[in-house]
Symmetry: C2
């Protein structure tokens, strides 16, 4: 990744976490991104509360929300499926908000990378989304194979995508071609 | 920098940009950090407007403010002074909000590094602060040597410190011992 480098990808899926009682997200044709995330998503908010992901702050204290939107790649989902020995891992099983196609390695995108949409909206990569146990449970249910529940974290390590925050609001649509703009200094 | 690594430093100077008509900051004993930055500072705001630093957005559009607080190190200021052949470069001449002492190379801190204060307040490193021409003019004035104005950008390259945003509000005080907490994955 060179200075000023950029790359193109396609947002093949746009999804929202708004179904009560499940981690699974559902597909949308388009959505409004505001400061704070996707309108209607349960992770929406400029401010959130510290949890197990921010152990340097007391649980429940208000902090800036840098985990507004989670993004996976089609390519890495295929690798996770292969590692689990199953046909497919769907982005919605991972609770993802966006699925991208065309990037060699989404999870390795450096913090500060921008993801820019045709509407003018922009996201900033806040870093790797370290795998937790929830998707494993979903995959076990979806495939009917309870043994997979405990295998997800290892299978998804370095392939689970990134979290991002909204830098500039705007409309995003499934099928959008997005620009991936690497930060100047790496 | 290893996983989970952390380091200590001392905030030797706390400064605010609130004097009309000048880039120079002034020292405070303590200040309140809220979401958005230092209360009363001209860069305060959760939201700011895109400028020359964000050429991927139209000038003047509202974006998240990731340049709330600028931080320099005593050690790098000494290196810049040596490169300019002068005795001292004061943090206030650079418009800095904080001066840290005890870090080998502040400017190289990765994005996502946390700076944690005794009050519980926390900052997140948003990246290197690339040198602009303003401090050169101040240094030329302060030293009475107009030739230095054009030499600052080169002398300060990779030594100009970082910008940060407030992750958790709280009081910060000159003399605070701060924890520098590196992100897990680099």
């Amino acid at each position: 990744m060179k200075k000023g480098n950029e790359q193109l990808a396609v947002m093949t899926g746009l999804l929202i976490a708004d179904k009560p009682g499940t981690f699974i997200t559902r597909h949308l044709d388009w959505a409004e991104m505001q400061f704070g995330g996707l309108v209607g998503d349960r992770h929406f908010g400029v401010i959130s509360k510290a949890d197990v992901r921010q152990p340097m702050y007391p649980r429940g204290t208000e902090i800036m929300n840098r985990r507004q939107i989670s993004i996976v790649s089609e390519e890495e989902c295929e690798e996770v499926a292969a590692a689990l020995g199953i046909e497919r891992v769907a982005p919605e099983w991972l609770g993802a908000n966006m699925a991208l196609k065309g990037l060699e390695r989404l999870t390795a995108l450096p913090r500060g990378t921008r993801i820019l949409f045709p509407s003018g909206a922009g996201l900033v990569c806040e870093g790797e989304n370290e795998p937790c146990v929830h998707p494993g449970k979903v995959i076990a249910e979806q495939t009917g194979n309870p043994k997979l529940a405990g295998k997800f974290v290892k299978a998804a390590w370095n392939r689970r995508g990134i979290v991002a925050s909204v830098e500039r609001p705007g409309i995003v649509s499934a099928g959008d071609e997005v620009r991936i703009l690497f930060p100047d200094e790496l």
